[in-house]
C-alpha cells in the first residue's frame, strides 16, 4: 500500500472497519512512513476532539422561547 492508499482508507481504519488483510497492509506502511502515521494520528485526534466537545448551554432567550412553544403545544393537546 502506498501513501495514497492509506489516505483513501484512513476513515475506515480509524473506525476499525477495515478488513484484517487491508488493516495489516496499512499498518505495515505506517511503520515505515512517518508522514502517514502523523496524518492518521492527527485525523483520529480531530475526530476525538469534535466527538468530546460539550454542547454549550442553551442561551436563556432561546430556551425560554422553546419552552413557551412547548407549553402551548402541550396545553393544546391537553384540551
Amino acid at each position: 500500500m502506498n501513501c495514497k492508499g492509506v489516505i483513501r482508507e484512513i476513515s475506515d481504519y480509524i473506525d476499525g472497519e477495515l478488513e484484517p488483510p487491508m488493516k495489516q497492509e496499512l499498518e505495515r506502511h505506517l511503520q515505515d512512513c512517518e508522514d502517514c502515521k502523523m496524518v492518521v494520528d492527527q485525523t483520529r485526534l480531530t475526530v476525538e476532539i469534535f466527538c468530546d466537545s460539550k454542547p454549550v448551554e442553551l442561551p436563556t432567550d432561546v430556551k425560554a422561547r422553546l419552552h413557551d412553544a412547548l407549553h402551548r403545544k402541550l396545553h393544546e393537546r391537553g384540551n
Partner: protein, 229 residues
C-alpha cells in the same frame, strides 16, 4: 386508599420524574451515560401515555445537544432555533409513531437534521446538494505536515477550543459538514446517517473521509507545534 394517602402529592402528580429526581438526589455524582440512556425508554413510554412532564424532561435533557446540531448544520442562529423548536414539536406530535427500534435521541436527531437541512437548502439553494458526486481524490493528500505536539486539548481553554472548532466547521462545505456532524459529533452510525440524509452508505463514507481530512488540515493551523494563532 391507604397507599394513595402514603404517596407524596408530588409523586402522585409526576411519578416517573419524582422517581428519577429521587434517584439523582441520592447520588450527587453524575450518572454514567449508560444509566442516563437506560431510563430514556421509561420517559418515552410515559410521554406516550400523555405524561407531559416526562416529555419536558426529554426536552431538557437534549435541548442543548439538538441546538448544537441545528447550529452546526445551518450555521445561522435564527434557523437553528426554528429547526430545534420544530424538531421538538414534531417529535411530540408524532411520538405515537416512534416504534422504539432505535434510541429516542437518534430518532430526534433525524427529525432535527431534516428540519435544519430544509432551512439550509432554502438559504443556499444552489450551493448545497447531497446528490452531487464528490470530487476526485487527488486533492486529499495532506501537505506540509508538522507535529501537533502534546495534547492540543490541554493547550487551549474550553472557550478558546470551542471558538476554534466553531470556526473550522463553519468553513467546511455544507454537504461534508452535515455528514461529519451526524456521524462524528452526534455519533450516529454510518447506516443511520445514510438513512437520515437519504443517501447511500458509500456517499456517507466518501463525504466523511473528506470532511475529516479537511478539518484536520484546518486544525493544523492552530495545533501545529509552535503555532502562535
Amino acid at each position: 386508599m391507604l397507599c394513595a394517602t402514603l404517596i407524596q402529592p408530588e409523586m402522585r402528580m409526576q411519578p416517573l420524574i419524582w422517581l428519577l429526581k429521587t434517584l439523582s438526589a441520592s447520588n450527587p455524582h453524575r450518572l454514567p451515560s449508560t444509566v442516563a440512556r437506560d431510563d430514556e425508554h421509561l420517559l418515552v413510554a410515559a410521554a406516550k401515555r400523555g405524561d407531559t412532564h416526562a416529555f419536558e424532561e426529554l426536552v431538557s435533557r437534549y435541548e442543548a445537544k439538538i441546538f448544537r446540531l441545528t447550529m452546526n448544520i445551518t450555521r445561522n442562529r435564527e434557523d437553528a432555533e426554528d429547526a430545534m423548536q420544530d424538531a421538538f414539536l414534531k417529535s411530540y406530535a408524532h411520538l405515537k409513531n416512534f416504534q422504539g427500534d432505535s434510541r429516542f435521541y437518534t430518532w430526534l436527531v433525524r427529525i432535527a437534521a431534516n428540519e435544519a437541512l430544509m432551512r439550509l437548502r432554502k438559504r443556499r439553494p444552489n450551493q448545497f446538494s447531497l446528490d452531487e458526486p464528490v470530487e476526485g481524490e487527488e486533492d486529499l493528500m495532506p501537505r506540509e505536515l508538522k507535529d501537533w505536539g502534546p495534547s492540543p486539548e490541554q493547550r487551549f481553554a474550553q472557550t478558546e477550543m470551542h471558538e476554534i472548532l466553531s470556526e473550522v466547521i463553519d468553513n467546511l462545505e455544507p454537504d461534508f459538514r452535515v455528514v461529519f456532524v451526524l456521524r462524528d459529533v452526534e455519533e450516529l452510525s454510518t447506516e443511520e446517517t445514510a438513512k437520515a440524509l437519504g443517501i447511500s452508505i458509500p456517499a456517507v463514507k466518501s463525504r466523511l473521509l473528506r470532511a475529516r481530512l479537511k478539518l484536520r488540515q484546518r486544525l493544523d493551523r492552530y495545533f501545529r507545534r509552535g503555532a502562535t494563532n
